[in-house]
Amino acid sequence: MLKKLAAWIDDRLGAAAFAEEALNKVFPDHWAFLLGEIAMYCFVVLLATGVFLTFFFDASAAKTVYSGHYAPLNGSQVSSAYSSVMHLSFDIRMGLVIRQIHHWAAVVFIAAIVAHLCRIFFTSAFRRPREINWLLGMTLMILSIFNGFTGYSLPDDLLSGVGLRIAYSIAISIPFIGPWMAFLVFGGTFGSPQIIGRLFIIHVLLIPAAIAGILGAHLAIVWRQKHTQFLIPGAAENNVVGERLWPTYATKSVALFFGVAAVLSFLGGLVQINPVWLYGPYATAQVSSPAQPDWYLGWLEGALRLFPAWQFTIFGLEIPNVFLPAVVLPGITFGLLYAWPFIEAWRTGDYAPHHILDRPRDRPVHTALGMATLTFYAVLLFGGLNDLVAKWFQLPVEAVTWTLRTLGIVLPILVGWLTYRLMVALRTDASERARHARAEPALGVAGAAGAGSGAARWGLAGFVAAGALGAWRLLRRRRGE
């Protein structure tokens, strides 16, 4: 039966040669290579759950009176969009769990993309011939972040409504074209009723279609170029060592899909996310507090909060405060990320093709730069929580803000330097180990390992201790007041 079908298809498409190649294609096996796959499977879950949600969501700002199973809001004036989200959460069977799986999938999707990006960066997988895939991947990340925002803005609740208002304010801050841009996107000044319908079509059609298309190209290129691999026994620049697609790799990959979907289901069932009924419907002149966006926009929120109260006027042209942290900073961030493979090839003069991955320790400066950058954005992320940090530690917000501003400059340098030392130590350690192993096996290995990474480990311990001491003193001084 199966043979007959294969013959029927081959007769029409001549696909046997490709199928033979595909089934025997070898994929390298390493847990870190699964991060991109996890992101892809989150996307599949997003599509499946998202389609279900579209059958119930009403992308309209028209006012209506809520009546449903959520008693506290019964009788209140809300938009049709908000009402339909409440309806699908409380009155549609399995509506809430599917909505929560959808939101969790988005959160994990972007986390997996960022983790995948880190893996690519720290193993230098972006080098020739993989620059195109780096550019496509970067575009996928930006589209995903943007679609996360358009998605959580749809329910027209108080939290996301204020988020939209901030987005509008950021848009009008762009010199010359800002007000025009904002008016075209929002259909006029903020508060015009068109925006929800527009966000909806962007969220469910334009961006998902773009993601699907670019993801297809991303995967096709991986297929064509074959996956990179670590320098495991037998691996070389001109081969691939691993598992064949059929049956083992394909089975494991399908299992990964089910695993990802399982984790998202547990999260969607057990961990509440975006409870719009607690935020309430969007209303002019109201705001919820504390107000944090989803995690992937936390760095931007933090930049808005931590950036000092500076504003420039150049020849009567006003540069609003938000323009620098919310337009220029993301521009630099994504611009540098896009350009990175080319910058690095230019700086190192390494234009050769690479299929064997580097380990982070092989390139201490590269790894240190990456860690410093990550640290900077981690501090910004905490900046987005400055009101909560202040509450947890019983400190004035102002003190938290100033601490984070300082840390934003000091910590990246410190972490970068520490990473550099650690990578150099590990590298010396590895090369010493190799030398000793040749000279005097066993005993020498242990001795060298102790000496080499010992220094780095002490350095790390000292850093952590100093940080803890500082935090403790800060807390004590506050209590003394």
């Binding site: 074959k226 691993g242 695993g259 399982a262 289901s265 109260a309 405060n321």
Partner: protein
């Protein structure tokens, strides 16, 4: 043999969970149970397939050759040749080519115009609000306000009568303790009955400035923690905001209700490039 048993058990567990999910659905549904049963159903499949692949399938390692570079020099040469040939024939029609470029360019510009339909022209929209001379300040229920309707240190969000709910007109009334109000130069008489009115839109990123601390006479924006000193013309005292909240000039009409003397005298809300050219 262990692998097969492991996989079999996982598949059975998965099937049971799926059955359970169906039962939960039919009996009315329950979000937590649905999530857990979905998770077990999918997780069982995952575990079973992994056990199957790990223990019962060929695991290699297999080695496959790879071209270090995918470059195809001969084919590239042929492509270049074809391009050269076509350039030679097409290139002769230089004038026609230019006309084509002109028509494509013109079409491109024309095709952009429908985008213009997406929004209104900004014009002066960012420079004024719905407040006019004599607009009564009303609550979102449409109720006009007398200065004494507010308790001392009380705050109230108001809109101009007839424009309740308009985003850019939202205004905060604060009744200050008698004698606390020190008007800025040019703002004398803007606070009848010690009631001051400030735009509620944060000048930083546009959030409603929702919190008032009566003890320190500060307005606080919950989004990015800007603080405004009410007694000093709502000057930004902390946080990222750079501009004071615009003050609405108030008066009292013949019936004793609070009205605006005029629109705001400066644009409300966050900055934009030509804000200074009011």
């Amino acid at each position: 043999m262990g692998g097969a048993r492991q996989a079999g058990l996982a598949f059975v567990l998965s099937a049971l969970a799926s059955l359970g999910l169906a039962v939960v659905y039919v009996t009315g549904g329950q979000a937590q149970l649905e999530g857990v049963l979905l998770g077990i159903g999918l997780g069982g499949l995952a575990v079973g397939l992994i056990a199957w692949a790990k223990h019962l399938m060929p695991t290699g390692p297999f080695v496959q050759a790879r071209k270090v570079t995918l470059r195809q020099p001969e084919e590239l040469e042929e492509v270049e040749e074809s391009l050269d040939q076509s350039a030679a024939t097409v290139g002769r029609r230089r004038f026609l080519g230019r006309l084509l470029a002109v028509s494509l360019g013109a079409f491109g510009i024309a095709a952009v115009f429908p985008i213009r339909s997406l929004g209104t022209r900004p014009g002066r929209a960012l420079f004024h609000t719905s407040w006019r001379k004599g607009s009564r300040a009303v609550t979102d229920a449409g109720q006009p306000i007398r200065p004494t309707d507010l308790p001392v240190d009380g705050v109230l969000t108001v809109f101009p009568e007839g424009a309740v709910g308009t985003e850019d007109s939202q205004t905060l009334l604060i009744r200050l303790p008698a004698g606390d109000y020190r008007p800025l130069p040019g703002r004398e008489g803007w606070a009848p009955g010690d009631v001051v009115a400030f735009s509620k839109i944060c000048t930083h990123a546009g959030c409603p400035v929702g919190l008032y601390r009566a003890d320190s006479k500060e307005l606080y924006c919950p989004c990015h923690q800007s603080v405004f000193e009410v007694l000093d013309g709502a000057r930004p005292a902390a946080g990222p905001a750079t501009m004071p909240l615009p003050q609405l000039p108030l008066d009292v009409d013949g019936d004793g209700y609070l009205v605006a003397r005029s629109d705001y005298t400066e644009p409300v809300g966050p900055g934009f490039w030509n804000r200074g050219h009011a």
